[in-house]
């Protein structure tokens, strides 16, 4: 096991080939020592008898065929963990970079994890109150869910992620152990700083574990970063019964690193040059969200990805959507209108909400109300596109109502201050107030009982009642502070 091999046979991109190796396992980790004292790390990605292809995480610049010594460590990539990781900062490979020294290790875990037996999972049902209406009301986040944010360059996905973390922990995690694992892949320094500062301000920094592979860090290292982060999250959740929120950003950079690795291996590329196994590879990350039997913890994932060209059919968002349990899609249109958070309602979806809302969870009317808001807002889009052809004045009275509803909905329901947390009841009531702009006969998704209970004819006749209502909520909030 301690055999060392001097020299390389070939270097190709991030790959090096080592000859005459004996007793080497597939995916084993490797330490590469340069003559100048540098140490790099790698992993066996293919073996042919006595020739091993090794992927070097830190890149191969400066390596030559004869200035290196390669040592195979005899096990797959591991990370050493204990509760001491909380509050610490690591590089993309899991080495401390905050100057606080190494951590005490209670357990070494394989970063690839193993597939979770589906019978050992517990189906997630408890909703996390994020205090954000468009999430709580329309795409409810459930503990143990994987719910990505599909964003675009320049959209406020980081702000949204921070707001979720901040408000979720206040509202939901009181009395229970809560933690955040944050993995940055290929994001800029100031983005990482922003997260760190925000965690600090929210007073949760000592509950956060950060893994940073920034844009100027080695690209291939990014393949390890989310795995190190998720292994840490699973450890904290399942060994220490903590509720862990994992923020992974930016998955697009991760996928690009995978593409680079794949092409250096000479694999046949699939769509847009990404390897054919991109789906399986992403699944091996996203599927590590959940809740398991005989543990009280949970791993909830919020991966963030920027859609190249805002294109939701690009392989990265497309395959992500096929794996995750819904998606929150940010809309450039709304952003340009000044709506924060600019959550594009129609393409957004939370698949797990159906079992975590309604009677006994949120409120009995939640499901119908949500369906109605979606359906009505979809009608707004039709009315708007008609208006763009024939002019708003030419619209029929019903379509005009929809235009009005749409504007109010965006202004009051979708828009929310970064520091404002709404309770679920406020969010639901707000939904009804907005629907009362529309005639009752238009509300065909809600059952009659609920309609009778919540739809208010008086409000329907008064266009500005919404304004009043919002002000009442907000003033009430202020008074309570």
């Amino acid at each position: 096991m301690d055999l060392q091999y001097i020299g390389l046979r070939r270097i190709n991109g991030p790959l090096v080939f080592v000859e005459n190796v004996k007793d080497i396992g597939f995916e084993e980790v490797v330490e590469i020592k340069l003559n100048n004292g540098d140490t790099r790390h790698g992993r066996v990605v293919e073996i042919q008898e006595e020739l091993a292809a090794v992927l070097v995480f830190e890149g191969t610049q400066g390596l030559s065929l004869n200035n290196t010594t390669v040592k195979f460590l005899g096990h797959p990539m591991q990370i050493g963990l204990s509760e001491e990781v909380l509050g610490r900062m690591f590089n993309g490979l899991g080495k401390p970079i905050d100057g606080l020294g190494s951590i005490y290790v209670e357990k070494y875990l394989d970063i690839n994890g193993l597939p979770l037996n589906p019978v050992s999972r517990k189906y997630p049902r408890n909703y996390i109150s994020t205090g954000i209406s468009s999430i709580d009301g329309l795409t409810t986040l459930i503990r143990g869910q994987k719910l990505p944010i599909f964003s675009g360059a320049g959209l406020p996905h980081n702000e949204l992620a921070v707001q979720i973390v901040r408000q979720a922990q206040i509202a939901e995690f009181q009395g229970e152990k809560f933690g955040v694992v944050f993995a940055a892949m290929g994001v800029k320094n100031d983005v990482a700083d922003y997260f760190k500062r925000s965690f600090e301000e929210a007073g949760v920094l000592e509950k956060v574990v950060m893994f940073l592979n920034l844009s100027n860090d080695p690209i291939i290292e990014r393949l390890i970063t989310p795995r190190a982060a998720l292994t840490t999250a699973e450890y904290l959740a399942y060994v220490h019964d903590m509720h862990i929120l994992v923020v992974l950003t930016d998955m697009t950079s991760y996928c690009e690193a995978l593409r680079e690795f794949s092409s250096s291996k000479g694999e046949i590329p699939g769509r847009k040059g990404f390897p054919g196994y991109l789906y399986s590879d992403l699944a091996s990350l996203y599927e590590r969200a959940g809740i398991v039997q005989n543990s009280n913890g949970s791993v909830t994932q919020i991966p963030i990805l920027t859609m190249p060209n805002d294109d939701i059919t690009h392989p990265i968002p497309d395959l992500t959507g096929y794996i995750t349990e819904g998606q929150i899609v940010l809309s450039r249109d709304l952003h340009q209108k000044g709506v924060y958070p600019p959550i594009g309602v129609l393409p957004s979806l939370s698949r797990l909400m159906k079992d975590g809302i309604g009677e006994g969870y949120t409120r009995a009317d939640h499901q119908d109300l949500m369906n109605q808001l979606y359906a009505s807002y979809a009608r707004v889009m039709d009315a708007r596109s008609l208006a763009s052809v024939i002019g708003e004045d030419e619209l029929g009275p019903i379509d005009k109502k929809y235009i009005q509803f749409g504007n109010l909905f965006e202004k009051y329901y979708l828009s929310q201050s970064m520091t404002r947390s709404r309770t679920i009841i406020e969010t639901l009531d707000l939904g009804w107030d907005l629907l009362s702009v529309l005639p009752k006969s238009e509300l065909d998704r809600v059952n009659q009982e609920l309609l009778d209970k919540y739809y208010d004819q008086d409000k329907a006749s008064k266009d500005f009642s919404i304004d009043d209502r919002i002000q009442i909520i907000d003033i009430g909030k202020e008074a309570n502070k």
């Binding site: 979770l116 769509r271 599927e287 794996i323 979806l349 379509d399």
Partner: protein, 581 residues
């Protein structure tokens, strides 16, 4: 002994051996990982490994088994959950915890459980291939029939008395023509890639009723038929499959989660234990077999999971049952083929998929059918396969090739899903080629007006489609009243009929007689409204009656067992119309 030469992900090679057979099952490495030979040549034998190859080393041994990958068929399958290579996941969890480590083994069937066996043959009787020699109450819903192997014909020389036996106990002996005595227990082995034999195919003339209106009414599937459900992410493929698994009138359900989410399998497992089948009042799990090869499990086993599922289905078909197979999602299987093919450096065809993708798909869907079994019973296997097209683009190879081999196409539409119109089946793009074969059945069992109303609905929806082109340009208000009425009644059809809420206690499953009554009242409303307009009354008078809203909500307001309430609605319509006229 054979040794591993190279390892590349799930693909390993052995050098210079010619002893392996194609599709042979092998055990790879010291952990004995299960694998299958996928190509042989003088230079290399190539094996795909069904478990993670991390840690595997060149030089480790490979054992050949001489057999293709086969299933153990016998009592104890129903109600169970297996992975793609028939490992029982519950037993594995009990034995080795939350994670599945490579090389874990467990007997697919419970070897210790004692079954109450009732023999249906006596000593001296002749057994033909497929003949039933004993029955067992496998669950409250399923009587398991033990059948003579397909290659055995002979005389029963010994039968145990009725009583309790374990699956490996010898319970019957049969002497064949050559005088050889075969001692049989309750388990048969069957290779997953070989279709099980039957006497002949029969015409498909009975629908597989799902209680989903858009399917049963517009695009029905026959028992023994095939359907594809393509759709982008989040459009409702899995929900559709779950709805079928829950409510369709098959005797047995085989649900294959192929490369999809772990939570969905957990949910099915939990839900099916609690959900009660309305016809038998027993939990649904009592007629269900689950196969779970989730997306984070080894890729190569996805293919096995598909064949495992269909083989289990054929086994129960051979007992004379109607079996429905859900495969979610066939795209993940196709992608596994692509990945393995890529690692073999085969010449790719369209979008990197191997050239043999169409033939694999057709072989799979060919295993559906309505047949006369070896023992002269009628049984069927229906297949409903989900497709996850890249970028929701139906022109991609898996969708296009599947379309050639299936006769129902239920196209899920992103736009409909965005507006929460579920099931998001696009009525313009979808079709069923079974409708003519099934018309006799509908006429006889539901009434001749069923298909007539179906036709009217299709006509109105296509008229609406045309009118909407105009509305998009000039708005609705300028249309004449009769056309406004078409739009309004089409809305009733879309929202009140096609749209169906899987989470509503009554709406989740709707029997055919209620479907018919709903169609009839919608068309009644249309006809009397037409009369009102013909008499020159304003359209707004009609709208003010709120009848359209009331009829839309019938799906929620009239419970499935209170169909007499429809009479009140006819009266309500008549009263309102009399007031106007």
């Amino acid at each position: 002994m054979y040794k591993i030469y190279s390892i590349n992900g799930p693909v390993i090679k052995i050098k210079g051996s010619t002893d392996f057979k194609i599709m042979e099952m092998v055990f790879v490495g010291t952990n004995k990982l299960m694998g299958e030979v996928i190509s042989v040549s003088k230079d290399f034998t190539v094996i795909q490994v069904y478990e993670s190859t991390t840690g595997l080393k060149p030089g480790e041994p490979v054992e050949n088994s001489g057999e293709p990958i086969s299933l153990s068929l016998g009592p104890g399958l129903i109600g169970n959950i297996f992975d793609g290579i028939q490992r029982p996941l519950t037993d594995i969890a009990n034995a080795s915890g939350n994670y599945i480590s490579p090389g874990t083994t467990a007997s697919p069937l419970d070897l210790e459980k004692e079954w109450e066996v009732r023999f249906t043959v006596e000593k001296g009787e002749t057994l033909q291939p497929g003949d039933v020699f004993a029955t067992i109450n496998e669950t409250d819903l399923v009587i398991h029939k033990l059948m003579a192997p397909y290659n055995l014909r002979g005389q029963v020389t010994e039968v145990k008395p009725n009583g309790k036996y374990r699956i490996k106990d010898i319970i019957i002996s049969v002497k064949d023509d050559k005088g050889d005595v075969h001692k049989l227990d309750m388990v048969q082995k069957w290779p997953i890639k070989t279709p099980r034999p039957f006497i002949g195919r029969k015409p498909m003339s009975i629908p597989l009723i799902s209680g989903q209106r858009v399917i049963d009414t517009l695009f029905p599937i026959a028992k023994g038929g095939t359907a594809a459900v393509p759709g982008g992410f989040g459009t409702g493929k899995t929900m559709m499959q779950h709805q079928f698994a829950k409510w369709c009138d098959a005797d047995i359900i085989v649900y294959i989660g192929c490369g999809e989410r772990g939570n969905e399998m957990t949910q099915t497992l939990e839900e099916f234990k609690e959900l009660i089948d309305p016809k038998s009042n027993k939990p649904l799990i009592d007629r269900t077999i689950l196969i779970a090869n989730t997306s984070n499990m080894p890729v190569a086993a996805r293919e096995a999971s598909i064949y495992t599922g269909i083989t289990l289905a054929e086994y129960y078909r051979d007992m004379g049952y109607h079996v429905a197979v859900m495969a979610d999602s066939t795209s993940r299987w196709a992608e596994a083929l692509r990945e393995i093919s890529g690692r073999l450096e085969e010449m790719p065809a369209e979008e990197g998929f191997p050239a043999y993708l169409p033939s694999r798909l057709s072989q799979f869907y060919e295993r559906a059918g309505f047949v006369e079994t070896l023992n002269h019973l009628e049984g069927s296997v229906s297949i409903i396969g989900a497709i996850s097209p890249q970028g929701a683009d139906f022109s991609e190879p898996v969708t296009q090739n599947t379309k050639r081999f299936v006769r129902c196409f239920w196209a899920l539409d992103k736009e409909l899903a965005y507006t929460r119109h579920y099931s998001a089946i696009n009525w313009n793009q979808s079709y069923s080629e079974y409708i003519n074969d099934l018309s006799k059945w509908y006429n006889k069992n539901v009434g001749v007006s069923f298909l007539h109303h179906r036709q009217l609905f299709i006509y109105l929806l296509s008229e609406e489609n045309k009118l909407m082109e105009i509305v998009k340009l000039i708005g609705k208000d300028v249309l004449p009243d009769d056309q406004k009425l078409i739009l309004e009644i089409s809305r009733v059809i879309r929202v009140g009929y096609l749209q169906q809420n899987a989470f509503h206690k009554d709406d989740t499953y709707v029997p055919l007689n209620k479907q018919l009554k709903m169609m009839e009242i919608i068309m009644y409303l249309y006809r009397v409204s037409q009369e009102v307009i013909r008499q020159g009354k304003a359209f707004s008078l009609l709208l003010n009656t709120n009848l359209f809203e009331k009829v839309i909500k019938i799906k929620y307001d009239i419970p499935n067992d209170k169909l007499e309430m429809f009479d009140d609605y006819y009266k309500m319509i008549d009263d309102a119309m009399n007031k106007i006229l």
